[in-house]
């Protein structure tokens, strides 16, 4: 089972590995576009990387569109885990 801390760690790994963002910047309140510099093409790659990292399928999940902050991603992944558990 993936704990909240594991979700944070693995998500942050994606941002470091795929988008070369320094660890210090990876705070939950950070806006992934304005603060971390991602654009629409990066979001495509973010989805691919998260799918691979967590073994989930989220490409067609509407909730991806409303993600703004890093914290939104943590919560989204955690909610997926909860849904699966239930």
């Amino acid at each position: 089972m993936t704990t909240e801390q594991e979700v944070i760690t693995l998500t942050n790994q994606v941002f470091e590995e795929s988008f070369e963002i320094e660890k210090e910047k990876l705070q939950p309140q950070m806006n992934i576009f304005e603060d971390l510099g991602l654009d629409s093409l990066d979001v495509v790659d973010l989805v691919v990387a998260l799918q691979k990292k967590f073994g989930v399928k989220i490409r067609d999940d509407e909730r991806v569109r409303s993600i703004r902050t890093l914290g939104d991603i943590y919560q989204f992944i955690l909610s997926l885990k909860t849904e699966w558990k239930s």
């Binding site: 510099g37 990066d42 495509v44 691919v48």
Partner: protein
């Protein structure tokens, strides 16, 4: 028509990542051909040699520009940066709308294309494809990435004619400037070495297969013991500039492009055709108003395939007899395919500047079917005022450029 001159050069090659190291390697008679570790895993691939270039410093390109670049685009961007610096062009000019680029390749980014298929095909699943695969592997990837990264806002085009891609890029740039559509066009080609690329020639029995244990002895253009081509990689970019524009900037002028022609053989997709080569060369010379007797040097396509070399030697013999020195450069750097026309033109310009013809490496005994032309087998001090660069590609596509020294410089 406007006049067109060459005012800058840049190269990433199997013999080094800039023009001086490429020239130095050739002057030292070095071969960049090596055994390709790991290629033996491909069943049916018989040619296990290649001439790789070194990919380095790519991390100096910011991520958002770098993400759309595959191997060949890195080569092209780095070669273009060198050429721009060599020509002394400023950034504001690059973004004036009067500076463009035409950069060709055989098939786009082979490595990225292969990776895309490896991701997608096993499970027939597209969901793991990243957004950048398309940009890394399309046939205009080098031109697109060069123009985006360097802020070019003029013409952006990509030629795709296999081994004539770079020559066609140069020819297109030449025509664009002659017509007054652009002041400067950054022209050339880029290519990456990959087993799928060598393999596509290997299945046609066009590759060198007998020298896997002694790679530096192949390819052997025009030689009795030649047995096929060896693929290489890299990028060569030249700055083509309108003559008056270059004079106004007091730019160094390497040479003037005075003639160009490209044509199809209309005969066969893979077999070289002497008559089509002769036609191409004659048309290029006619467009330059230059007679065969005025040509001082021919840089041959000379891939070291059995039929290609024979047909080219016959074509040269028909037009020039045995008077004009001929050499080829693929013994040093392999066949860089879509980049060969520009990389080899850059080396030819160095020959013109130095008054020295570099010999055909690995040509030890001229094959009987390639006799009757002036093969250069040792360094030759020679005044080169006019030269011809040949490129004869799969698909029956031929291209020839005629360059002339600019006298008052």
């Amino acid at each position: 028509m406007k006049r067109v001159v060459i005012t800058g050069v840049g190269a990433v090659s199997p013999l080094g990542n800039d023009v001086p190291s490429l020239i130095e390697g050739i002057e030292q008679g070095k071969s960049a051909v090596q055994y390709m570790e790991g290629w033996e895993q491909y069943t049916g691939l018989r040619s296990l040699v290649g001439a790789p270039a070194e990919l380095k410093d790519e991390k100096s390109i910011p991520r958002k520009s770098r993400r759309s670049m595959g191997r060949m685009s890195f080569f092209a961007v780095q070669a273009t940066q060198q050429a721009i610096a060599d020509a002394g062009l400023e950034q504001k000019e690059l973004s004036s709308g009067r500076v463009g680029c035409v950069i060709g390749s055989t098939m786009g980014g082979a490595e990225s294309l292969n990776d895309a298929f490896e991701t997608m095909l096993p499970e027939k699943d597209l969901s793991q494809l990243t957004s950048m695969r398309f940009f890394q592997c399309v046939s205009h990837t080098a031109a697109m990435n060069v123009s985006q990264y360097l802020g070019l806002t003029g013409y952006v085009m990509a030629t795709s004619a296999a081994c004539a891609s770079a020559s066609q890029a140069l020819g297109a740039g030449y025509d664009i400037i002659r017509l007054g559509k652009q002041d400067v066009v950054l022209c050339g080609g880029a290519e990456e070495l990959h087993p799928t690329v060598t393999g596509s020639f290997d299945v046609l029995f066009a590759t060198s297969v007998n020298y896997n244990d002694i790679p530096h002895r192949t390819p052997r253009p025009f030689d009795r013991e030649r047995d096929g081509l060896v693929c290489g990689e890299g990028s060569g970019i030249l700055v083509l500039e309108e003559y008056e524009h270059a004079l106004m900037r007091k730019a160094k002028i390497y040479a003037e492009i005075v003639g160009y022609h490209t044509c199809g053989s209309g005969a066969h997709v893979s077999q070289s055709n002497k008559d089509a080569m002769v036609f191409c060369l004659r048309e290029a010379l006619a467009s330059a108003h230059i007679s065969p007797g005025e040509v001082d040097y021919i840089n041959a396509h000379a891939t070291a395939t059995m039929q290609g070399d024979k047909e080219e030697a016959e074509a040269i013999r028909d037009i020039f007899g045995d008077e004009v020195p001929v050499s080829g450069l693929k013994g040093y750097i392999g066949h860089t395919l879509g980049a060969s026309g520009s990389l080899e033109l850059i080396v030819s310009l160095a020959m013109m500047e130095k008054g020295l013809v570099y010999p055909t490496l690995n040509l030890k005994t001229v094959s009987p079917d390639c006799e009757g032309i002036h093969h250069v087998m040792h360094p030759l001090a020679w005044d080169i005022r006019v030269m011809v660069k040949n490129c004869f590609a799969f698909g029956g596509i031929n291209a020839a450029l005629v360059c002339k020294k600019v006298n008052h410089q």
